[in-house]
Symmetry: C2
C-alpha cells in the first residue's frame, strides 16, 4: 500500500522517539519519504553537510520537494504529524469532533511534550557533566519520568470515556503514535514500567499494524544488531 514518493526527504536517526512518530504517521498515510540516517552517536547532526539542510542541527527534519515550496525544513515531530494529517487527510489520525481532537492532542502532549523532553540526550549530558549524575542516577531519572508520564496516561485511558481499541476509539490516532514512541524507546533502554495494562493492550493492538511494525527502531538503517 505504501507508495514510494519523491516529494519528501526525512532526516532521522534509528533510535529517536520523535523520528519514530513521524515514520509511523507516514506509514499510516501510505506515503514513503526518502529517509536519511543522521548518526547522532557520531554527532553527524552537527556536521557542515547537515547544518546546510537544517541550521538547527536537530532531527527529525523533513524537506518537502513539492513545487513552489520553500526548502526550509519542517521540524518538531508534533508539528510534522499535524502537517501530514492536513496534507494527507486519509486515513484520519485525529477524530472528527473538536472535543475528540482536543483529547487526542492532550494525550499526545502528555507524553511527547511533558515526558519525552526530560529524557533526551542533551538533558543527560547536562546532568552527567554539571549535575553530578552517574549512570545509575540517570537511569533512576529516566525511569521516574517514564513512570510518572505513563501512569498519568494509564489513569486517563481507564477513566475517560473516549478510550477504545486504541487510545481514542477503534482506529489509531496521534495519541497512539506518541504512546508507542515512548514504549519502543523504553525497550531500547531496557526500562520497564509496571501497572499500565491499558497502555500495553493498546500497544499490542498498534503492533498488529504494519505501519507500527515497519517503524520499529531496530529495523531502521543505522541500528546496531540485536546482540549489541
Amino acid at each position: 500500500m505504501t507508495v514510494e514518493t519523491a516529494r519528501f526527504e526525512l532526516f532521522s536517526f534509528w533510535r529517536t522517539s520523535a523520528t519514530y512518530r513521524v515514520r509511523v504517521a507516514f506509514n499510516l498515510k501510505g506515503v514513503a519519504p526518502r529517509e536519511h540516517n543522521v548518526d547522532l552517536d557520531a554527532a553527524e547532526q552537527r556536521s557542515a553537510a547537515f547544518l546546510k539542510i537544517n541550521p538547527m542541527g536537530a532531527i527529525p527534519a523533513l524537506i518537502d520537494h513539492a513545487e513552489g515550496q520553500s526548502r526550509e525544513p519542517l521540524t518538531q515531530s508534533l508539528a510534522m504529524l499535524e502537517f501530514l494529517e492536513e496534507t494527507y487527510p486519509q486515513p484520519p489520525l485525529l477524530p472528527a469532533d473538536a472535543h475528540g481532537r482536543a483529547r487526542v492532542r492532550s494525550l499526545a502532549c502528555l507524553l511527547a511534550a511533558d515526558t519525552h523532553p526530560l529524557i533526551v540526550p542533551r538533558v543527560k549530558k547536562y546532568l552527567m557533566s554539571k549535575g553530578g549524575f552517574d549512570d545509575a542516577a540517570w537511569r533512576d531519572w529516566q525511569t521516574h519520568w517514564f513512570t510518572l508520564g505513563l501512569h498519568a496516561f494509564e489513569q486517563r485511558l481507564v477513566s475517560e470515556s473516549g478510550t477504545g481499541r486504541f487510545c481514542h476509539g477503534d482506529t489509531p490516532t496521534l495519541a497512539d503514535i506518541c504512546l508507542a514512541s515512548i514504549l519502543v524507546v523504553m525497550r531500547v533502554f531496557k526500562i520497564e514500567v509496571a501497572d499500565i495494562p491499558t497502555a500495553k493492550r493498546i500497544m499490542a493492538n498498534c503492533e498488529q499494524l504494519d505501519a507500527f511494525i515497519k517503524a520499529e527502531p531496530r529495523r531502521q538503517a543505522g541500528a546496531p544488531s540485536e546482540a549489541s
Copy 2:
C-alpha cells in the same frame, strides 16, 4: 470587545506559563472564561474538590459547558490552543497555508514542548530532593534551558523567511503566545537571556495588545503584590 461567557470555566494559577498561553488565546478570540485560581503553592491542585474536576490534578484545565458536551476537562495548553482555534476561527492564530501552520506549530513546540517542561515545579522537586541540587544549581539549570531554547528560537526568527512583525507574518499566532509565555515567566523568576533582539522586538509588539497585557501573571487573582 471581550464577551463574558458562561460556556467555559478555566482552572488556572496566576504564575504558570501554560495557563498564560490559554488566557492570551481566549483574549485574542474575544471570549472570557470564568477563571478559578487553583493555588499551587498551597497544593490546592491535590485537594479533593479539584480532583473531582480534574482527576489528574493538573492545571490548566478547561470545562466546556456547551450543551451535549461531556464534562471531562480539556487539558494540556497546546491542545487547548488548537481547540480554541477550531471553535473560534476568528481572528486566526494559525496561518492559512499548511507549511505556515507547520512552522508556527514547530516554533510553539520548540518552547512549549522542548523547553518549558524542563523548568516546571515537579522537575525542581526531583532535582532538589534526589539530584543534590541547591537553589543556585536550580537557577543555573533554569537559565541554561531558557537560554538554549530562546537562542534556538532567535536563530530561527532571524534565518527563516516567515518572520514579520510577529513570529510568523504581521499578526499574532500560537508561536507568539508560546514565546510570550516563556518571557513572562522569566520575569517572574527574574532570569535574563542575552542576545535575543528579534524575540524581544516581537514581545514588545505583543505587549501593545490588550490580549497579552490583560493575561500578565502579576495582574491575575492570587498574584502577590509586586513588592513581594
